[in-house]
């Protein structure tokens, strides 16, 4: 039995250590309990020599311990000294296993059986407790490790790092050190690296460029075998050699332990955080939670919170958080006057997507957002404007202009502009303030971060997008209320390229809506799968089963990696029953599709080869990834004479650089898909553009506005290799001059030699160069206009594979 202390601090990471140091400085009786035999285990476990970053830069450090960017060893050394200087009373090898009692008289038990008594507790155990495990087949094999102590332990190995948060990236960079001669691959489930720090991402990208790391996005492990790893990629499965798997899949709060103390969390999700007051007090009075466990993963935040929480416990009521002044500036222009924390609470209470965000996360999040007051009738954005930020309605309401003079209100608490988040399409409608309102504008990157970090917010955003999508698909007077049961029962499914979702002949009545990606519909005719239809994002399938109760009459599979929303047949049927008009409209759509199927079937009997060619061409086009294209260049090699006038025209219509490589690319039955931009439905290039200059224009073109910083993310993210990093050549002499005197390099992209001669020693900055579909050029795409024989056309896959084509071919 030990003397009771005023405050017991559990966990000696940056948060706990800073708290204990403050207690030491204030002369409060305290004890710092640490599980391991050293301070700050999380940072202790970083790779040797790791550079610890001190972000966010604008935040001031407020702690009795020192911290600035530096090597792990240096920082830990400083902290050991600081602990002594601040008279911290630390007990090592003290893993807390149970906390009982209440404010004023807590009893803390450790694994060794010691018991400590304290009036208040500061819980700073971080989140490292239990790393997420791999879940695919073979995930229990011994060559999967969850931590890299020293990269030097690995030499000449095939290493795959799973997960691309900071930890994964840093491990990958460590083992990819050239001298170690490892073959390193890093996998990322999504397209972008929203969870990792920008500096880490750029370091990794550089290593990727130098061939030290192979970076695979939208790829997940599927099967682990000794020596091999099977990957699920957007273009199908792939098996790679792999001796070691480093799994860095993030971590969850050691929730069971925390909940056993009676502390409540913000939500049921695995990644939710404890509910906290602005003074970090949990729902159990007297227990305070700080640091990563509270949802604050950055060291500087942890340290500031350690300082603050002890000040609060010591009765300091006037302390303002270190980021207070920045936040105050954000709210300064609003008509009402409230304190920062009142504003934050106001937003969290009134906006659905912020409901699950902890007050502390809310602070950080608001630093990346804007809040503005709009008078009734003020335009927030106009239809057709580029823009990808998300708006949330904190007060008042918004009005969407769906047609001339027709508006639909969006109520307080909801969001708008969410379409831009997913596909980056231009604003689909004009939005005005329906009353005097307060809207929060969240940048696309901040919104993606929010969705990644707060599952509750992600759910709300997904739900609202789904409701709006369904309202658009199934017209006929549907309301959000009608949809509620359908949406409640809906599930999101990710399907990799080629995966069969519905199988012809099977029973089933689920209906699917394609959220991203696209599907192909095939039917077995005469023992061969025949392509029936291409379904782009935003369309639905499976409805025939619900309406008729018959088995599936065709097979539907993913053309590219896709996200589907599965609606249960049960709820869908009930919705149709409630709304006969919707039923009618759906039945009409079904009849039309059935008629088309019949047409193809009847042609197959008489014009088998035409149907086969049509079907094979469709398969080829889908295999080339055109399933996600909205507008792609296709060359008919029966007509192409190889003059490359398309490339020259492209260069001459822009700043002298061609955006397409005619000769490269795949060909089937003389149909050639050159290397050129397809203006994807969900552009990969847009996923991670730091200056956010890639947008979608009014004609669906994905283009770059000026402001590229030349980081190359878009080029690396593009699976089709259509973005170049290049500097614009100097202007050429005019065409007539060249024609008459031969002066200058002539039409098209000048040769590097010519450019070099013009520039001398000057080295202009390389920026990303991509097709903009000749945006702003009245005549339309130059590549097509400049083709002398008609070999080049630009099409969307659904136009190209239209049934009309088959009708013509098969007579």
């Amino acid at each position: 039995m030990t003397e009771p202390v005023k405050v017991a601090i559990i966990g000696s990471g940056p948060a706990g250590l800073s708290a204990a140091s403050r207690a030491g400085q204030l002369g409060l009786s305290h004890v710092l309990l640490e599980k391991t035999d050293h301070l700050s285990d999380t940072i202790f476990k970083y790779q040797k020599g790791k550079r610890v970053l001190a972000t966010p830069e604008r935040l001031d450090l407020r702690s009795d311990c020192r911290f600035a960017e530096g090597a792990r060893e240096y920082i830990l050394g400083n902290w050991d000294e600081d602990a002594v200087n601040n008279k911290v009373n630390v007990v090592k090898h003290a893993e807390v296993t149970a906390v009982t009692g209440q404010k004023g008289a807590f009893e803390i038990k450790t694994a060794k059986g010691d018991v400590y008594h304290a009036e208040t507790i500061v819980l700073a155990i971080g989140t490292q407790g239990n790393p997420n495990r791999m879940r695919c087949e073979g995930a229990d094999l011994p060559h999967i490790i969850y931590q890299v102590d020293d990269p030097e332990d690995f030499k000449d190995k095939h290493i795959t790092v799973v997960g691309s948060g900071d930890a994964g990236i840093e491990n990958a960079l460590g083992v990819a050190e050239e001298a170690l001669e490892n073959t390193v691959t890093i996998l990322n489930r999504s397209k972008d690296f929203a969870r990792a720090k920008a500096k880490n991402v750029s370091d990794m990208m550089e290593a990727g460029e130098n061939g030290l790391i192979s970076i695979r996005t939208e790829t997940q492990p599927k099967l682990v075998e000794p020596g091999w790893l099977t990957l699920e990629t957007p273009t199908g499965d792939e098996k790679i050699p792999c001796d070691v798997i480093v799994a860095r899949l993030g971590s969850v709060a050691p929730r069971g332990f925390v909940e056993s103390m009676g502390i409540e969390f913000t939500g049921p999700d695995r990644e939710a955080f404890p509910k906290l007051s602005p003074t970090f007090e949990s729902t159990v009075p007297g227990i305070f939670v700080i640091g990563a466990l509270a949802g604050y993963p950055l060291i500087k935040h942890c340290m500031n919170q350690g300082y603050d929480v002890v000040e609060f416990i010591n009765g300091n009521k006037n302390l303002t958080p270190a980021d207070e002044k920045d936040l105050a500036a954000i709210f300064a222009n609003l008509p009402q006057k409230k304190s920062v924390s009142e504003w934050l609470d106001y937003l969290r209470e009134r906006v659905r997507i912020f409901a699950d965000v902890s007050p502390l996360q809310m602070r950080e999040f608001m630093l990346d957002s804007k809040v503005a007051y709009y008078r009734k009738g003020d335009v927030v954005f106009e239809k057709g404007e580029p823009g990808s930020s998300l708006f949330a309605i904190a007060d008042g309401h918004a009005e969407v202009e769906v047609g001339p003079g027709i508006t639909v209100p969006i109520e307080q608490g909801s969001i708008f502009g969410e379409v831009g988040l997913i596909s980056g399409r231009k604003r689909g409608a004009t939005i005005r303030a329906g009353a005097d309102s307060i809207f929060v504008e969240v940048s696309r990157t901040a919104a993606l971060k929010l969705m990644a970090a707060v599952p509750g917010a992600k759910r709300v955003i997904n739900r609202i997008s789904l409701e709006r999508q369904l309202l658009q698909i199934f017209k006929g007077g549907l309301t959000v209320e009608d949809l509620a049961p359908v949406v409640d029962a809906a599930e999101v499914e990710r399907v990799p390229a080629g995966k069969v979702v519905l199988t012809e002949g099977e029973q089933g009545d689920d209906v699917y809506v394609i959220r991203s990606g696209s599907m192909v519909v095939e039917k077995d005719i005469g023992g061969k799968p025949i392509f029936l239809r291409y379904l782009p994002a935003g369309s639905f399938f499976g409805e025939m089963g619900v309406l008729s109760g018959q088995p599936r009459n065709a097979t539907v599979k993913a053309a590219v990696g896709a996200e589907l929303i599965k609606l249960t047949g049960e709820s869908f049927r009930r919705m149709l029953a409630a709304r006969p008009q919707v039923r009618e409209a759906t039945e009409a759509a079904v009849a039309e599709r059935a008629q088309m199927n019949n047409f193809i079937e009847s042609r197959k009997a008489t014009y088998s080869s035409a149907v086969d060619l049509y079907s094979d061409t469709a398969s080829f086009i889908m295999k080339e990834g055109l399933g996600e294209a909205t507008d792609a260049l296709l060359i008919d090699e029966n007509l192409c004479v190889g003059c490359d006038n398309c490339e020259k025209a492209c260069a001459d219509s822009h700043e002298g650089l061609s955006r397409l490589d005619r000769e490269a690319g795949k060909t089937f039955a003389h149909l050639h898909v050159p290397t050129s931009c397809r203006h994807c439905e969900h552009p990969h290039c847009m996923a991670d553009c730091p200056p956010n200059v890639i947008h979608r224009g009014p004609d669906g073109e994905v283009f770059m506005e000026p402001g590229c910083i030349g980081c190359g993310n878009c080029m690396r993210n593009c699976p089709y290799g259509v973005i170049r990093m290049e500097a614009a050549p100097p202007p050429k002499p005019g065409l007539l001059r060249w024609l008459l005197t031969g002066f200058g390099p002539g039409p098209g992209e000048p040769s590097p030699k010519w450019t070099k001669k013009q520039l001398g020693d000057e080295k202009p900055k390389k920026i990303a160069v991509k097709c903009d579909m000749c945006k702003g050029i009245a005549g339309g795409p130059a590549c097509v206009r400049a083709c002398p024989t008609g070999a080049a056309i630009r099409v969307s896959p659904e136009e190209f594979l239209s049934i009309a084509r088959l009708q013509e071919d098969a007579g």
Partner: protein
């Protein structure tokens, strides 16, 4: 008129830009629009020529002859303008395919326009020189149309998704392997291999390029030499022979590629210079007509 142009321009904006759903070659463009126009024009000329009784006899100097001559000269200048149109990327709405289509069919109509313009009076003079040059340009153009419609598929089949750069790279890769594999050979066997390594895939001159025959091919020679040779270690020799025959296949593909490309281009080196000769002769013809007739 102004409003007409306005309309055309606004129609040509991207949003409403005319989209083609499928490929349509320049010969079939707009359902043979220019073939019909040009055919109609020729028919009109032939019929009217037969009907109109020009006195004393039909020739270029009659009012009828002047009309045809003016049309023909204008047409020739316009046909020449294709070379400019092809390279001048202005931003307004036009299609080079439509231009080519019109060029080909209206160009062919010159056979009738030009010939009927002469009133079938040909001789050894600058006038007939212009006519001959015109016919040669047209003939070369005809050849062009024939190769444009027959060779692209062969070009596509031959390259089999490879780019010209990749073909060259493949040959270089074989060269690197050959270099290593030839080390154990005797000097006598090494010599032909080295010669094959030194061979420039682009060498051979215009005739070889067009015919696709390279009788002096060093790779083929090396293959023959090593096939007949009995010196060197048999295993090493076999390996080199294997690589040489792979290189030969790669070379054959590249040469076929270059050959088809040359056939697709060579005629323009006749068509265009003759066009300028034609314009020169035409000018002389017109000047002489007005000053010395």
């Amino acid at each position: 008129m102004a409003s007409l142009f306005q309309r055309r321009r606004s129609k040509a904006t991207q949003t409403e830009r005319v989209r083609e759903r499928r490929h349509e070659g320049f010969l079939r463009y707009a359902n043979f629009r220019w073939a019909k126009i040009s055919g109609g024009l020729c028919l009109l000329i032939i019929v009217s020529y037969a009907l109109i009784d020009v006195t004393p006899r039909p020739n270029g100097g009659s009012w009828y002859g002047y009309t045809l001559g003016t049309i023909g000269a204008g047409l020739i200048l316009w046909l020449t303008a294709l070379g400019y149109r092809k390279r001048k990327m202005t931003s307004d709405h036009w299609s080079l395919k439509a231009w080519t289509s019109a060029h080909v069919y209206l160009g062919l109509s010159l056979i009738v326009i030009g010939t009927w313009h002469t009133g079938f009076q040909l001789g050894w003079n600058v006038h007939t020189l212009a006519w001959v040059l015109m016919m040669l340009v047209i003939l070369s153009g005809l050849y062009g149309v024939v190769v444009y419609s027959t060779l692209p598929a062969a070009l596509s089949n031959n390259r089999d998704e490879m780019t010209q750069m990749q073909m060259l790279e493949a040959i270089r890769a074989f060269d690197r392997q050959l270099h290593a594999a030839a080390q154990p050979l005797t000097p006598q066997d090494t010599a032909p291999v080295l010669a094959a390594l030194d061979e420039d895939p682009f060498a051979g001159g215009i005739m070889a390029r067009l015919s696709g025959r390279y009788p002096d091919c060093a790779t083929a020679a090396a293959l023959r030499a090593l096939g007949a040779s009995r010196s060197s270690d048999a295993g090493a020799r076999e390996k080199v022979v294997g690589l040489l025959s792979q290189k030969e296949v790669a070379l054959a593909r590249l040469r076929q590629h270059l050959r088809i490309r040359a056939l697709l281009e060579i005629w323009l080196y006749v068509h265009v210079p003759l066009t300028f000769a034609l314009i020169a002769a035409l000018s002389a013809h017109i000047v002489s007509v007005f000053f010395y007739w």
